[in-house]
Each structure stands twice: as structure tokens, then as C-alpha cells.
């Protein structure tokens, strides 16, 4: 994990995002254990409370599960991962739309480009 201080995204959200992305791309699997709060805080030299806040949010979103006796484990359910994938992609596509607007490329032309690329790019 890494932290970008230049980003306007609060550190706890940067951690949440990275855990989500790692889980979606399969770097983390269900049952994998996240580093303990203190360990991750020391490694990144950030406030342990920030890590705890990130883990709490991941728990609230049912991405991790804490077990009695300690430890936070990835526990993703299919319906969550589908929604998360789509949220993540929507975010990236919104950035592309904003860029197209800034470049003065009309929206319908953008849609054409996208369709064309879908056709040309092999899955």
C-alpha cells in the first residue's frame, strides 16, 4: 500500500480504495488477512487511528470481517463485488467524459469512439 500526500483524497479513503481495488483484481482473496492496524501504520508512518478508521469503513461496507481473537479478513460477497466493479469503472469513465468536455469533443462523438474501441479491442 502507498499513500499520496499530494492527493486531495483523505488518507483513510486512500487505504479503503486500495484494499477494494486489490480485492477486485484478485490480489486479495476471501479469507486473506489484512496487516494489523499498528503494523500498517508503522509501515506507512501514518496515524494508527487513520488505519483503524479505514478498516472500520471497510467493515461497514462488508468488505472485511473482523474475527474474535483479532484480525481483519477479506470477506467479499458476489453482490458487493459486482456493484463495486461498476462503481469503479463509472468513476473512470466520468473522468474520461470530463476530459472530452474540456477538449471540446462532443458527447455523441465520444460515444462513437467508445463503441469503435470496443469493437477493435479484443477482450
Amino acid at each position: 500500500m502507498k499513500i499520496d500526500l499530494k492527493s486531495g483524497v483523505p488518507i483513510y479513503l486512500q487505504i479503503v480504495e486500495q484494499v477494494k481495488v486489490s480485492a477486485l483484481f484478485g490480489r486479495y482473496r476471501n479469507g486473506d488477512r489484512l496487516p494489523p492496524v499498528r503494523e500498517l501504520a508503522m509501515e506507512l508512518r501514518i496515524n494508527p487511528n487513520t488505519v483503524a478508521k479505514a478498516y472500520q469503513m471497510l467493515k461497514d461496507e462488508s468488505i472485511i470481517d473482523s474475527r474474535p481473537g483479532g484480525g481483519n479478513f477479506i470477506s467479499l460477497q458476489q453482490k458487493n463485488t459486482d456493484a463495486m466493479r461498476e462503481t469503479m469503472l463509472s468513476g473512470e469513465l466520468q473522468d474520461v467524459i470530463a476530459k472530452a468536455d474540456a477538449l471540446g469533443v462532443p458527447r455523441d462523438r465520444l460515444a462513437e469512439i467508445f463503441k469503435q474501441l470496443l469493437k477493435e479491442t479484443k477482450p
Binding site: 499513500i3 500526500l5 499530494k6 492527493s7 486531495g8 483524497v9 483523505p10 488518507i11 499498528r38 501504520a41 508503522m42 506507512l44 508512518r45 501514518i46 496515524n47 494508527p48 487511528n49 487513520t50 483503524a52 474540456a102
Partner: protein
């Protein structure tokens, strides 16, 4: 002042060393219990004088200070048991070894924690059997932090402790500080102008200019509201933004720094007919530089 959720409250605090030279000019500062608070300011703005009034080493000329619900001057003895202080250039007992120092300090503090002590000794790699006066500056400062942390203080005050330490020693010192942050239990106030190291550690920041705080807020909130807008250097008629801090030229860019909602800033520039501009977030250090810059510089 009965605000129990606050570890430190200062209101209207003033201090002058001579009649002509007032250093602290009406300080209002609030540090919540359990928070890590970065007190930021350039050299000579009154950080150390403020800290010394908080620790009770100096008496304010005017205003009120409450530390852990106590008066730092009247309740100095009581407060000293609950508070630990590490400052730049602080003197320990030079003729002692680290083991002598531990034995000596431990005798004064009933809450002394041997486990923390053993852990920090190992983590800091402090050589035993060497007199403190023969320690490097980094080792010496780490020894001071160790002596402060083993007392299990409710409030840890760090006054520019990393000044003069090399990068490696600063990193180790910071690890010790990270290790010292317990959930909601310990308040840490950190005075410094080396911002990148402490940015990710701090819950709150207070920026001091000329004897007062000009900004005090949660770090996440500060970072969410300050933005840097870059336009071509020859851009004229920049629209007036509500929270505009500065406009300057750097190389090919004109840089506008403002505090407010990013979407509103973008909308204002769009409405004024601007197409070529970028809006980006800023590091705490860049925000600090913008807020403390003297007009015209």
C-alpha cells in the same frame, strides 16, 4: 474551562519578553483529547513560546490556558506526572548511560512501563554502556523520546524535536511517535516546520503566523478545501474567488490558490470563459507555504 473533551485550550494568550517585543499576540488554540495536533509555523512566530506556556515553563501575560483540565502554572506538579515533553536541543543527564537514565527517571514516575521501555530500546537500537554525552544527536533525541514515552503520558509535547537530525534518525524518531499513538488515549502536540514527515500523522493542524493561529482545522478538512488553479502565465482578468489566497506566476503558469469548494471554483472559471486551467489538490506543506507567505513575496 470545563471542556473535558479538550486536552489543551488556550484563549487570548499573550506573551512579551520585553516591552517592545510581543511574541505571542492573542493565541486561541484547541487540542482535542486523543488527537495528534501539528502546530506549524516558520521560525520565530512564537511556537516555542506557546509550547512553553502550555507546559508551564512560562507564565502568560494575558489570557487563559487549560491543559488536561489543569492550570499549567498553578498545577505544575500534578501536570508534570501526566505530561511528557521532548524539545529540540533538550538536555538529558550527559554523564549517565541509557540504563542509568531509565533507572533515574523511572523512580519519579509510578506509571513507568517496563514493557514499552524494552520495546523502544530495541526499536531505537540505543547502545547501552555508552554515556549519553557520547551519543550522536539522533540517538540522544531518541533517548529523550524513550524517557518521555515510558512514563505513559496522557499528553506528549514535541517541540521541533527533529531539528538537526539526519533523514535516517528522523525516520526512526517518527516510528517511535507512530508507536506512541494509542487510540483516543494519548494526545500529541507536535511543533515543527518539517511538514511532510508529520502530515500523515496529524489529525489537526494549526498554522501560526506572527504570534497567532491563522488556521486551525482537521487536516482532512484543510486538504479538502485548498486548491491550486493553474492557468497560462499571461492570463489576465482572473475572476474573484471568495476564498482566494494568492495569485503568482511560476514559469509558464499563473497559480491561483484558493480555499473553498472545488466545484464552485471550476464553475466560476468556466462562467468567466476560461477553458485552459487545471484544479488540483495540495500537500499540507504547499498549503502551509501559501498561508504563511508574506504578501508580495
Amino acid at each position: 474551562m470545563s471542556e473535558n473533551s479538550n486536552a489543551i485550550v488556550a484563549r487570548g494568550v499573550r506573551k512579551a519578553y520585553t516591552r517592545k517585543k510581543e511574541v505571542v499576540k492573542g493565541l486561541d488554540l484547541t487540542v482535542k483529547r486523543g488527537a495528534v495536533y501539528a502546530l506549524l509555523g516558520c521560525n520565530g512566530v512564537g511556537k516555542t513560546t506557546s509550547i512553553r506556556m502550555i507546559t508551564g515553563q512560562l507564565t502568560p501575560d494575558a489570557g487563559e490556558i487549560s491543559v488536561l483540565g489543569l492550570d499549567p502554572v498553578k498545577d505544575a506538579v500534578k501536570l508534570r506526572r501526566k505530561m511528557a515533553y521532548v524539545a529540540e536541543g533538550q538536555k538529558l543527564y550527559d554523564w549517565m548511560t541509557i540504563d542509568d537514565l531509565i533507572r533515574f527517571v523511572k523512580a519519579f514516575y509510578p506509571a513507568w512501563d517496563d514493557k514499552v521501555c524494552a520495546h523502544l530500546l530495541k526499536m531505537f537500537g540505543l547502545p547501552q554502556g555508552v554515556k549519553l554525552k557520547d551519543y550522536s544527536r539522533g540517538m540522544y533525541t531518541k533517548a529523550a523520546l524513550l524517557a518521555a514515552l515510558c512514563r505513559d503520558p496522557d499528553l506528549l509535547i514535541l517541540d521541533d524535536p527533529m531539528l538537526g537530525l539526519d533523514t535516517a534518525a528522523r525516520r526512526e524518531f517518527m516510528s517511535g511517535v507512530v508507536d506512541a499513538i494509542h487510540e483516543f488515549e494519548r494526545t500529541v502536540i507536535f511543533s515543527t516546520h518539517i511538514i511532510p514527515e508529520i502530515e500523515a500523522l496529524s489529525d489537526y493542524a494549526g498554522i501560526m503566523v506572527d504570534g497567532r493561529l491563522v488556521l486551525e482545522a482537521p487536516v482532512d478538512e484543510i486538504k479538502a478545501t485548498f486548491r491550486e488553479i493553474r492557468l497560462p502565465a499571461d492570463t489576465e482578468n482572473i475572476p474573484e474567488l471568495p476564498g482566494m489566497i494568492s495569485v503568482r506566476v511560476a514559469g509558464e503558469d499563473k497559480i491561483v490558490i484558493a480555499q473553498g469548494e472545488e466545484s464552485e471554483m471550476t464553475a466560476t472559471f468556466h462562467q468567466a470563459g476560461f477553458r485552459f486551467f487545471t484544479v488540483s489538490a495540495m500537500s499540507l506543506e504547499d498549503i502551509f507555504l501559501a498561508v504563511t507567505a508574506k504578501p508580495g513575496s
